[in-house]
């Protein structure tokens, strides 16, 4: 039984129930119950000859709609306070086949609604659009299942007044998907792969260059996944990665998507970021990287976002394109309390030959690092320089 296929049906099945009169929160619960039942009861590998009547795999969506609707009615009936709705529901004609309208996009908008906090939007998207269970989401984010269950039901209450067919802003959806992607791989759930799946599904429904841009960005970063960490789990910086281990298929797909998006001449932040990732992917060796073009893309990004973090990354690129002194000059214009400012300064000072300053700054950067992988990497850099100096 294909769990991914099953999960991909989640949003459209929720939408069918909502169209039939269920409210979103109840519909979402009912579909989650139906998914759990499907995972438990469906045969792992149905033999092709025994295509018996009503085999779930012949019409997985139809099966899910039927079971979820039954669960919704059970829940509604068992709830005396909801008698009114029960009567209304009972008076409706027997459910026919699922409508052909694809409401999956509406689910994306609802789950990323601007009234939700980022963590609520992420949790709700992973459950109602991604079809993940609360337990899976809780494990991925390292919080108790009860906490995640509350976060999700609270999110559902927050959007309970939002009309299902209200048009949404695709930018809010992209931000949520970007957050999921950046979380990476946590425990047994690959959130980066899940984010790619959800963005791909979105891209199939919305013709928008930034959706394509985000998908390209994700694919280009994901392509480097195997090369990003050493066998002991330590970080391998881009310049030292074994480029033979990059996923060329993912790179090719990302580049194709990006080129088509850029051709539409509606540049956005994700396309510009993807363009930088594509230039890295395009270089056979680190030395052959086209840093001049990368700086140009950073200039575009600065124009689009005016983000100090982008300016910091731009300083690194300037250092590569025009030499470390130019990079340090670009850095001097920035607030030194920015995250990773010390790490960038350390790198540029080492390139400039000032080993003592670089070593001190690497140690300072390690102290400020927001995660253990970066901290360990920066500590090793400081140790490497100090060892060299003391020899």
């Amino acid at each position: 039984m294909d769990e991914a296929l099953l999960r991909s049906l989640t949003p459209s099945v929720i939408a069918v129930l909502v169209r039939r009169g269920a409210d979103f929160a109840a519909a979402e619960d009912a579909v989650q119950d139906a998914l759990v039942e499907a995972l438990r009861s469906w045969p792992a590998d149905p033999s092709p000859g025994s295509s018996g009547e009503g085999h779930p795999l012949r019409d997985a969506k139809g099966w899910l709609v039927t079971v979820a609707w039954r669960k919704f009615l059970d829940q509604t009936r068992s709830d005396a306070a909801r008698r009114r709705r029960e009567e209304r529901v009972d008076q409706e004609p027997a459910p026919g086949p699922a409508p052909a309208v694809d409401d999956t996009l509406q689910l994306y908008f609802l789950c990323a609604h601007p009234s939700l906090t980022p963590s609520s939007a992420v949790a709700l998207t992973l459950r109602a659009v991604g079809g993940l269970t609360t337990r899976q989401i809780a494990r991925a984010y390292l919080v108790p299942e009860a906490t995640m269950a509350q976060r999700i039901s609270r999110a559902k209450r927050t959007v309970s007044g939002v009309r299902f067919d209200q048009p949404g802003d695709v930018a809010t959806v992209l931000r949520v998907l970007y957050l999921v992607f950046n979380e990476g791989y946590s425990g047994d759930l690959d959130l980066a792969a899940e984010a790619i799946r959800l963005t791909r599904q979105l891209a199939a429904r919305v013709d928008h260059p930034e959706v394509a841009g985000l998908l390209a960005l994700m694919l280009l970063h994901h392509a480097r996944r195997a090369a990003r960490t050493a066998p002991d789990g330590s970080l391998v910086p881009l310049a030292e990665q074994d480029r033979g281990r990059w996923d060329t298929e993912a790179i090719a797909e990302g580049v194709t998507l990006l080129q088509a998006a850029l051709a539409r001449d509606r540049l956005g932040e994700f396309q510009a970021q993807a363009a930088i990732a594509a230039l890295h992917a395009d270089a056979p060796t680190a030395e052959e990287t086209d840093w001049v073009q990368i700086v140009e893309w950073y200039d575009e990004l600065v124009r689009l976002t005016d983000s100090p973090i982008v300016r910091l990354n731009r300083a690194v690129a300037v250092g590569e394109a025009d030499g470390p002194r130019a990079g340090l000059a670009a850095l001097a214009a920035l607030d030194d309390s920015l995250p990773r400012h010390a790490a960038v300064a350390a790198y540029l000072h080492e390139r400039d030959g000032d080993v003592a300053t670089a070593a001190r700054l690497y140690a300072e950067a390690a102290h400020q690092a927001p995660n253990t992988a970066e901290r360990d990497y920066l500590t090793r850099q400081a140790a490497r320089l100090n060892t060299r100096r003391n020899r």
Binding site: R154, A192, T372
Partner: protein, 137 residues
């Protein structure tokens, strides 16, 4: 989405505003304090921000390795230890500002006279395991 540790000290934090030791409170004041702490945790569970909460005994033992084939050396507790952790709460919140807001609420737990303790709590961010994928060039 980031995790923070709200750290409560027996010793080592700056003095609270309402700085009366707990054994000088009335039993009702102690009950009110405990109730406040439980309600706070329950409320965070409801908002989907609670991860963990634990209290620690004041007295611990110092332990260190003493070489191959030898039992570990133990020592203490040391009365002069400056920093003594009383317990913690771990929260998972959307922002640093939210973490500070919640720590402020926790610090308002009632003490002597039913008045807020205004206790100093330490807010420490967790280091995650890995950098975000797109942050690494």
């Amino acid at each position: 989405m980031a995790k923070y540790l709200l750290l409560k000290h027996y010793r080592g934090a700056p003095a609270a505003v309402n700085d009366v030791p707990m054994d000088q409170w009335t039993p009702q004041e102690i009950s009110a304090h405990v109730q406040y702490m439980n309600d706070f945790a329950a409320r965070l569970e409801k908002t989907g921000e609670f991860v963990d909460g634990q209290a620690l005994a004041p007295e611990g033992t110092w332990v260190r390795y003493d070489g191959e084939g030898r039992p570990p050396v133990t020592d203490g507790p040391f009365a002069e230890t400056k920093d003594l952790i009383a317990g913690w709460m771990v929260i998972d919140v959307d922002s640093y500002e939210r973490a500070v807001e919640l720590a402020g609420e926790l610090s308002a737990a009632p003490g002597a006279g039913g008045k807020p303790i205004h206790e100093w709590l330490e807010v420490r961010p967790f280091l995650t395991a890995n950098p975000g994928i797109t942050e690494c060039h």
